[in-house]
Amino acid sequence: MSPLVAVDSLTKLFPVKRRVFALRVRHYVHAVDGVSFAVEEGEIFGLVGESGCGKTTTGKLLVKLLEPTSGRIVLEGQDITRLRRGPALRAFRRKVQMIFQDPYESLNPRFTVFDTIAEPLWIHGVRSLAEREARVAEILAQVGLTPPETFMFRYPHELSGGQRQRVAIARAMVVHPKFVVADEPTSMLDVSIRAGIMDLLLGLRQELGVSYLYITHDLAVARYMCDRLAVMYLGKIVEVGPTEEVLQNPLHPYTQALIAAVPVPDPTYTRAPPEIKGDVVAAVNPPPQCRFLPRCPRAQDLCRTAPHPPLVEHRDHGVACYLAGHG
């Protein structure tokens, strides 16, 4: 069976203007650079990586908030890359939704909870007020804001961060989408309420049969949430596979460094110093070699002369590194 969403060589370049000796030179940030992956029906596919590696851009491309520079996005076998208007786009907008990172900014401060959640219903043609009220109440109960009538007519500033994110989740889910991009939905929230939101998303997958692209920079969150995982570095996917497989048996030096950098709960344990050197460099006009080369502890001569390594899959575990043998 074909996957729910398939992404093929997706690329997004952002032009940045810079001045070099009074000459205006056009540079490009390679925010997403030839990314391919597939999300199966009912699956939670994780996207992890450091800040600025292109996770949000990938998510926005998938929900068509951004137009890709090149590449293809296929939803349920239909190429939606060039979809611009008309009933096909309308149908797409109902099937694919997004949950944003910041629940303090993703709700219109002048909208009540009801206004926010009923908006997609109105846009998708639910004109009966009674029906909108009933469906908003139903979804509010589903996202754990009960009893619904005490929340319906509150404004965002009257809600806690966790409650706001539940409202944002309800807005995404009220049209019963098939695929939801969740962009770090818990990273802005208090640690104590993160688990509640994650469990809610897991529960909604069961109840509504929705699939997620789950974006996070937190490996522990990824492990809890995701069935499969893709690790991104400067616009490229460097490793992909089932979550446990990737975390237990990381093949790419970057993934290995990420896992080594995760804080360990045991205070007597002294962590080995992080292997990688330096900081993430922005992917402005990157050189053709491996993106990770400047920071890679294992780089060989081959890496300095060859182009960026392709993602090679063995069973369902893929890695983009010349030296990472599948053991």
């Binding site: 929900v63 786009l89 939704q97 944003f100 993703s106 219109n108 998708h124 009674a130 009933a134 009538e149």
Partner: protein
């Protein structure tokens, strides 16, 4: 469905009315705390009182033949016009024997009509253009911004002088011309800047993901979020309109029969402005009225600023 019946306890319009009332009360409290806002509102109410009192006075104690603001004449004081204040004429009479207080009160109505109409048109146009420019950017934005530059550089009074030679410039037309002209002017820049800060909010992206059209997003998200600022600018626009009318009337450029500006113009053209202090009742009442009304709307605007811009709040 059980959920449905519980939620339908209160009809939606009642909930909305209640929420509106609540936010109105909260905003009113903030406005009240600004001090200058209520002061301005008080002054405006005083003018409203004057406006309402005029027809009542004309119908009861004031004889229309004597007190009519345009065609009235006091025969008891023939040869003494302009007469200084007296019990019969609290603010005296003008050079052609009309009661100054009556003129002052009667003109209030047209000042309000002119100011509010012009400001309403200005702000409506400015809000729409600001929102559309911010949302679409590109060529649409470029066109309206060039128009705004042009309007801001254009000598408006000179334009009206030319216009006057072509059309009959009465109060309604003046309000229209003024409203439209300044609607395309600097106000679009300010409102566009505000709309741009709204445009980048994630809830706009959420509305796009939900399938909202450009029209939907501008109408439901962008305009409501810049409307408070529009309202604020409306107050300042009223000030501008009233002031412009006064200047134009003073130079005799308008086809208006009576206004505060005309009152000063009458005094001036009859040569009574020269001896400054002597015939003060001819120019001081309309002068004070113009200043005070403009000031009042300005104060209300400043009072509203604390609502629109939360950073100005004390707490």
């Amino acid at each position: 469905m059980a959920v449905e019946s519980r939620v339908r306890l209160e009809p939606l319009w009642r909930v909305r009315a209640r929420l509106f009332l609540r936010s109105f009360r909260r905003n009113w409290a903030l406005f009240w705390e600004s001090r200058i806002g209520p002061l301005g509102l008080g002054i405006i109410l005083l003018f409203v009182l004057m406006m309402v009192a005029h027809p009542i006075l004309m119908a009861t104690v004031w004889d229309p033949r004597v007190y009519d603001p345009i065609v009235g004449f006091d025969p008891d004081l023939v040869g003494k016009h302009p007469a200084p204040p007296s019990p019969a004429h609290p603010l005296g009479t003008d050079p052609i024997g009309r009661d100054v207080l009556s003129q002052l009160m009667w003109s209030t109505r047209s000042e309000f009509a002119l100011g509010v109409t012009a400001a309403l048109i200005t702000v409506t146009i400015g809000t729409l253009i600001g929102a559309v420019c911010a949302y679409f950017g590109g060529i649409v934005d470029a066109i309206f911004m060039r128009i705004a530059d042009l309007v801001m550089l254009f000598p408006f009074i000179a334009l009206l002088m030319v216009l006057r030679s072509v059309i009959h410039l009465d109060l309604v037309r003046l309000a229209l011309v003024m409203g439209v002209f300044s609607g395309f002017g600097g106000i679009t820049l300010t409102l566009k800047a505000q709309a741009l800060t709204v445009k980048v909010k994630p809830y706009i992206e959420a509305a796009k993901v939900a399938g909202g059209s450009a029209f939907h997003i501008i109408r439901r998200h962008i305009i409501p979020n810049i409307l408070p600022l529009s309202f604020l600018y409306m107050m300042f626009s009223v000030t501008g309109a009233v002031f412009t009318e006064a200047v134009l009337s003073y130079f005799g450029l308008l086809d208006i029969r009576m206004s505060w500006g005309i009152m000063i113009h009458t005094a001036e053209s009859a040569g009574y402005l020269g001896a400054f202090g002597q015939y003060w009742w001819l120019w001081a009442p309309p002068g004070v009225a113009i200043t005070l009304l403009c000031f009042a709307f300005y104060l209300v605007g400043r009072g509203l600023e604390t609502l629109v811009n939360p950073r100005l709040r004390k707490r």
